[in-house]
Amino acid sequence: MIEVKGLSKFYRQTKAVDGVDLSIRKGELFGLLGPNGSGKTTMIKMLTGQIKPTSGTLKVHGINVLEDPLRVRELIGVIPEQETPPSFLTAEEYLYFVAKVRKMEHYEEACEKWFEFFDFGDQKTSLCKDLSRGTRQKLMFAQAFLHEPELAIIDEPLINLDPVMQRKVKDFLRGYVKNGGTVFISTHILEIAKEICTSIGIIYRGKLVYTGRLDDPELQDKNLEEFFLELVGKRKGISKDILEESQKGISALA
């Protein structure tokens, strides 16, 4: 589904993404993990043809993204990092708008299904600018899956949702992959990855420092959190005891 080789994106001072090789097969629920500013969003913007890489090749759905980004975005569903639907459409009108842009024929029922799924109620008829961030995020989620794409690339889709909704969305994603869909999700929250992903990649300062399946024996005896902090910690050059201390802090919080 996704084939990436030597992918880099450099901005003037920063190497946002630095030489990433990645291959994701159909039916995976791939989680791209990394702390804030590690390059997840940049990666997703390149995969969806919104920005051009400095170097490297990338294929999505077997299509060269650089040659035909439009075709790629037609086929896949995308949730962008920022939930900014047009201000003056209502939630319902926005979904209809996206359906029109995607040239769908019968969409009323599909839209209704999503509003029920997310308990929209009256908010269906509120203007997008008056919706809360969480509600807007739900709307962006519905928008991405409206045309039932085979591949969805979604950027931190859960951060503004309450626990109940997070649960629902996670269940949906699992079911979606079981039915043959493929999902590329970015997140900085390990819990999510642990719960739903079939494979993960860890990105840190633009470099993909680990990829593997979650049933990898290397991961089995470790908890993912430890592993993550270990990888990231090594790179940061944090001394071992500070690392341990912060780990304790994190466990105490949990």
């Binding site: 439009l70 639907p85 003056f88 209502t90 209809y96």
Partner: protein
């Protein structure tokens, strides 16, 4: 006390300069300075046809309009700012979280606009004049006392404009209907005046008549015109606009059905809902389009009486074309491309959809012009329609090429603004001169159509190539 004022000025400056980079923005007053400098260098050439008083008249009315536009932008354009900078990020709209009264904040807001735009527009404008006076004996405008008076009276014009718009917007915040009635009455009055015009009326703008013949009375009258509307609006200040509707039925579907299988149906439907539901609603169309047009028509009719060689209708068509292109600015104000970049759309698709809405909006001026031409002189119908349509098309194509989907931001970049003026001003000048020889010279503007289409094509490619620089 003074802190809020200072922070607002800083805020305005940062807002502008973060959008276009410091140098880009700092160039803006420099450009205005150079512009008036060169224009006033060639002024003596026109001494034969226009008098100093007429030049002064033009300047004072221009700054009246600028004041009105700045006011309208500050007060009605806030959703645009909110969209780009986050909810309630401007001090003016954060009165609910600051321990100061709304009135106090808004008084500061007005003061800030006056000081800020004085430095940005008025000062460089007069400075350009002053420098030119060193090189050419510019008659009345050369004396330093005159220049200082000009600085004062142009500022007064500007403030009368802001104050009037502020007042109108306060009326609007209380009731859209009352405002519409006021405007209707004002338009009828203006039309009546323009019918049997005498020059005296035009020269009775107090800032102008003070400039021409300084007198205490005029100064007093100016003060009243500035202070009374502002004070009234501060007293009756209301922050929330009447549109507090929370729930809307699905008009989008209806509009789409109505537009059928038209390729840009979804976008045109969305744009029309944006216009209708955003703050100010259709009132914006009146504020920033119909009202200025009426004023222009009145001024041109007066000018036509003074300088018979000028054809009122042809000039009006020209101005209409120029003003219409500003509608492209409104259409793009509600959107940022990043809201669409993840859908199967290119930047050029968005621009094309905006141009479709633009063409539809152009029907309003088209109808106005047709009616006026039929009433005044049907012989002028074809040439003035041609002039209007070609100028409107050309202006918007230049705007698209230079500024893409963010004209109201990019135009503040000094370099882009200079390019824009360079590609537009000579053409307008040429048309003004041609109009003196008869209406049918306007048909030459048909040549602009292929040029505009070429520029548009180049513009589409340019903005598709550029990565979305999302504001």
């Amino acid at each position: 006390m003074f802190d809020i004022f200072k922070s607002m000025i800083k805020e305005e400056w940062r807002m502008h300069s973060s959008l276009f980079g410091h140098s880009g923005f700092a160039l803006f007053p420099v450009f205005i300075f150079l512009f008036t400098f060169f224009v006033s260098l060639v002024l003596p050439v026109f001494r034969e046809i226009v008098t100093d008083a007429q030049i002064a008249l033009g300047m004072h009315y221009i700054f009246l309009l600028v004041g009105g536009m700045v006011g309208a932008f500050g007060l009605l354009g806030r959703e645009f700012m909110n969209r780009r900078f986050g909810q309630a990020s401007l001090i003016a709209y954060s009165s609910r979280v600051l321990p100061v009264s709304e009135r106090f904040i808004f008084a500061n807001f007005l003061g800030k606009d006056v000081v800020y735009y004085f430095i940005l527009y008025i000062l460089p404008f007069v400075a350009g004049f002053a420098l030119a006076a060193k090189f050419v004996p510019a008659g009345n405008f050369g004396a330093s006392a005159t220049l200082l008076t000009l600085l004062l009276t142009l500022s007064i014009s500007f403030m009368i404009g802001i104050s009037a718009i502020f007042f109108l917007s306060t009326v609007y915040a209380h009731s859209g209907k009352i405002l519409l009635l006021c405007l209707l009455a004002a338009s009828l009055l203006l039309l009546h005046i323009s019918g049997n015009f005498n020059q005296g009326t035009l020269y009775s703008l107090p800032s102008l008549s003070f400039f021409l013949v300084p007198s205490e009375n005029q100064l007093l009258l100016s003060g009243v015109l500035i202070l009374v509307p502002s004070a009234l609006s501060l007293i009756f200040l209301k922050i929330d606009f009447p549109q507090a509707q929370k729930s809307f039925s699905n008009s989008f579907s209806k509009l789409c059905r109505y537009l059928g299988s038209y390729r840009y149906a979804a976008f045109v439907a969305k744009d029309s809902l944006d216009l209708k539901r955003s703050e100010g609603g259709l009132g914006k169309l009146i504020f920033s389009f119909v009202l200025p047009l009426l004023l222009v028509w009145t001024l041109l009719s007066a000018l036509g009486k003074v300088i018979p060689a000028l054809s009122t209708l042809t000039l009006f068509a020209l101005v209409l074309g120029v003003l219409s292109s500003s509608m492209y600015n409104w259409l793009t104000e509600y959107d940022i491309f990043s809201s669409y970049a993840f859908l199967p759309l290119k930047a050029s698709d968005m621009i094309k959809s905006k141009l479709n809405s633009y063409l539809i909006l152009n029907l309003v001026p088209l109808v106005i012009l047709t009616l006026l031409a039929l009433k005044k002189d049907p012989m002028f119908l074809i040439p003035s329609l041609t002039l209007f349509l070609t100028i409107s098309l050309y202006m918007v194509s230049v705007l698209v090429y230079l500024t893409g989907l963010s004209p109201s931001i990019n135009l503040y970049n000094g370099k882009i603004f200079a390019l824009y003026m360079l590609s537009v001003m000579p053409l307008l000048m040429l048309n003004i001169i041609l109009s003196m020889f008869g209406p049918y010279y306007a048909l030459m503007d048909l040549l602009l159509i292929p040029v505009a289409l070429y520029i548009l094509g180049k513009g589409f490619r340019k903005w598709d190539r550029n990565e979305c620089r999302c504001f």
